[in-house]
């Protein structure tokens, strides 16, 4: 199967059981490092070229805008990483974000005095509930997450529209303390970006260092083998969807705080951007490989492309085309690396090393 796979390095390495474990690990590690490094290099080059053309690109205000702009996408991409690593996908995140954002606004309309931490908790809980619906349906229906979350993409958005029924919630309806959260900075860094950083660090650490985190990779690499080795696959996949929903809920609350104006269309079409960020960040779409850091870098890169195109005075219409080309380049690069690793490992085992 590895020939038709997305080319997860771990699995390519696993094809040659004679290979010493230690070497395999360092190779994999080196590859993952290369992946995040190449993203950083691409990001650096992009910033450098843009700054050379217009030095205001690196001004404090512009960096602040950039960090603010990518925070929500970063959080969603990290949640998506958890799901994609298990060889699933969550297409409903944009709809959950929209629903939670509107719910947050409505909460303030209904109970104007609500302190913002309460709104945050309610939003995250509502998102987690949406994720639990996804996870539960997937367990009941025993069909791929792609199908179920495509359905809930419509269903959640429909509930959102039905509820909003053309109304709009404005900044004036929300408390100033909450709205400040969306634009405030600590030592020049937007609070939103700090929240995103915490999420990236927490999920990254979990995936790397916790047993249940490692098990997610095992599930994505080979679900049947993971089940045979005693991993509670069903429970893990359910938990992953709840987590993805909760992070989409968090993103929804932050969306409300940042933009202040809410209607039922908030976050429409975001799902493909989120998947794109993860894919560009090296999360193999067929599971088993990728990191939260990579996905976050992917999200930052996509956002940065947008603003540097504007600075370079390139027609903004090119942005989406560039993003598409970048996705193709990223998955092509993954494939190339996987093939080279596989070839190298084959060569080594053939020589009996």
């Amino acid at each position: 199967m590895s020939l038709t796979d997305a080319g997860a390095p771990e699995r390519a390495a696993g094809d040659t059981p004679t290979d010493p474990g230690r070497q395999r690990r360092t190779l994999t590690e080196r590859l993952l490092a290369v992946r995040e490094l190449s993203l950083l290099v691409a990001l650096g080059l992009l910033v450098l070229v843009t700054t050379l053309r217009n030095d205001r690109f690196l001004s404090g205000q512009s960096i602040k805008d950039l960090l603010l702009g990518c925070a929500i996408l970063v959080i969603l991409a990290v949640g998506q990483t958890l799901v994609i690593v298990t060889r699933n996908v969550d297409l409903s995140v944009g709809s959950i974000l929209g629903l939670v954002a509107f719910a947050t606004g409505s909460l303030f309309l209904w109970a104007p005095g609500t302190p913002w931490p309460v709104a945050l908790v309610v939003g995250v809980a509502l998102g987690a509930l949406g994720g639990a619906v996804n996870g539960g349906l997937i367990a009941v229906a025993r069909v791929p997450a792609l199908v179920i979350t495509l359905g809930t993409l419509y269903a959640f958005r429909g509930v959102d529209y039905y509820w909003a029924s053309g109304r709009q919630i404005n900044a004036a309806d929300m408390p100033a303390s909450f709205l400040r959260l969306g634009n405030q900075t600590v030592l020049g860094v937007p609070v939103l970006f700090l929240v995103a950083l915490v999420v990236v660090a927490a999920v990254g650490f979990y995936l790397r260092s916790y047993r249940s985190g490692r098990e997610l990779y095992a599930i994505g690499s080979e679900p049947a083998a993971a089940r045979l080795s005693g991993i509670p696959v069903g429970r893990r996949v359910f938990a992953v969807f709840v987590a993805s929903g909760a992070l989409a809920g968090l993103a929804g609350v932050l969306y409300a705080a940042r933009f202040g104006t809410l209607d039922a269309a908030a976050g429409t079409g975001l799902e493909l951007q989120v998947v794109a960020a993860a894919v560009v960040g090296g999360v193999a779409i067929f599971g088993g490989s990728g990191s939260a850091y990579g996905a976050a870098l992917g999200a930052v890169l996509l956002t940065t492309i947008g603003s540097s195109l504007a600075v370079l005075r390139i027609d903004p219409f090119w942005q989406q085309a560039v993003v598409g080309a970048l996705i193709l380049a990223a998955i092509g690069l993954d494939r190339l690396l996987a093939l080279r690793v596989a070839a190298r490992l084959r060569g080594r085992s053939a020589h009996g090393a």
Binding site: M1, L3, T4, D5, A6, R87, N88, L137, I138, A139, V140, A141, R142, V143, P144, A145, L146, V147, I148, L150, G151, T152, L153, Y154, A155, F156, R157, G158, V159, Y161, Y162, S165, P223, A224, R227, V233, G234, V237, G269, L272, V275, A276, V279, I285, F286, D315, F317, W318, Q319, Q320, A321, V322, V323, G324, A325, I327, L328, I331, G332, R335
Partner: protein, 351 residues
């Protein structure tokens, strides 16, 4: 093996194998066509009896015109999903073909006939790019077509920006919505039916069609039995692109407007209709009749709810719930059957 070709079944799928359940599941999927056709008949009957103006000729015309793009794209999409792949770039290909048609009409001075031929060829080229990435480089079609979804949509904005080209000759735009004389059936339904028959015959009555199912069930086994998997999949993507070219022309003429955002988001509706029609996302299972019934069911429900003045947004819920129900129900029914079956075996006297 087939499960590796797209998103794997969630764990519980293989956790309790139970031959009885698998058999009843297969039986149910086999009759899914019948279920969905029956649902369509019921929906049409109920809508005709309860919704004012639903059973009018004018409404039938609008219903069919609205469904044209969906139905056309669903044809190649059915074949692609049966082989275990997916094409998410279809709506973007429609958009790009539409804007290029507009741009060529605006500035090339070519005749509209020639432009239409060029647009279909262009669609085929766009599809070939997808096919090349998927089969030539061995990349997952889901990732490739998410990439080209963004790329082609971006390019369609590059071609026309936020402008629209609208000055197409009136006889052409009128032809796109004209009825067959004496009926309220649009003329464009004829080529749709023709294509549907061609796709149906290829899928269900030829060796090539059986090979598609074989590919969806097991790529490698299909290869060993002499099917050239890569070449077949490549051409399926090309055909998908060419059909999107046709839809691009129809869309442009029907709305008399070539715009970069034409058909945005249509890809998810097409996938919904195909899955609703009983095609398995794992590949290897499904029939064209079910898909066409699924397309019509989706259209009839949305149209009837619209006429009944149900909040337009409820339609979104209906679409999503239909999709979820269509995949949850068969398994739930199979579960209940299996449970009853086991009980009968345990207490043979009671039955």
């Amino acid at each position: 093996m087939a499960h590796d070709s797209l998103y794997a079944a969630p764990p519980t799928a293989e956790a309790e194998p139970g031959a009885g359940r698998l058999a009843s599941l297969r039986g149910l999927f086999g009759s899914w066509d019948a279920v969905i056709v029956a649902a369509l008949v019921v929906a049409v009957l109920v809508a005709s009896l309860t919704v004012e103006n639903f059973a009018s000729g004018r409404n039938a015309q609008f219903l069919l015109l609205d469904l044209m793009p969906l139905a056309l794209i669903a044809l190649p999409m059915t074949l692609i999903v049966i082989t275990g792949e997916i094409d998410l770039s279809v709506a973007s290909m429609v958009g790009l073909c539409s804007t290029l048609m507009g741009q060529l009409w605006l500035s090339s001075g070519l005749s509209l006939e020639l432009i239409c031929v060029l647009v279909v060829l262009l669609g085929a080229v766009l599809g070939a790019v997808n096919g090349l990435f998927v089969t030539g480089f061995g990349l997952p079609s889901l990732a490739v077509t998410i990439g080209t979804l963004a790329l082609y949509r971006g390019l369609s904005f590059v071609v026309l920006g936020d402008q629209a080209v609208a000055d197409f000759p009136a006889d052409w735009t009128a032809a796109a919505v004209r009825n067959i004389p004496g009926t309220s059936i649009p003329v464009v339904v004829v080529p749709l039916l023709l294509l549907a028959v061609i796709f149906g015959v290829v899928l269900h009555a030829t060796a090539a069609g059986r090979a598609l199912y074989a590919m969806g069930n097991n790529d490698q086994a299909a290869t060993f039995t002499g099917v050239s998997v890569a070449r077949t999949k490549f051409w399926l993507f090309v055909v998908s692109g060419a059909v999107c070219g046709l839809v691009g022309i129809f869309w442009t003429l029907r709305y008399a407007s070539a715009r970069g955002d034409n058909a945005t988001g249509l890809e998810l509706t097409v996938v919904t209709a195909v899955l609703l029609g009983g095609v398995s996302i794992f590949g290897g299972r499904g029939a064209l009749l079910g898909v066409l019934a699924g397309v019509l069911l989706l259209g009839v429900l949305r149209n009837a709810l619209q006429l009944a003045d149900v909040d337009a947004n409820a339609l979104t819920i209906v679409t999503g719930s239909l999709l979820i129900a269509s995949v949850v129900l068969p398994n739930a029914v199979a579960d209940i059957r299996a449970r009853l079956h086991r009980r009968r075996q345990r207490h043979p006297v009671a039955s």
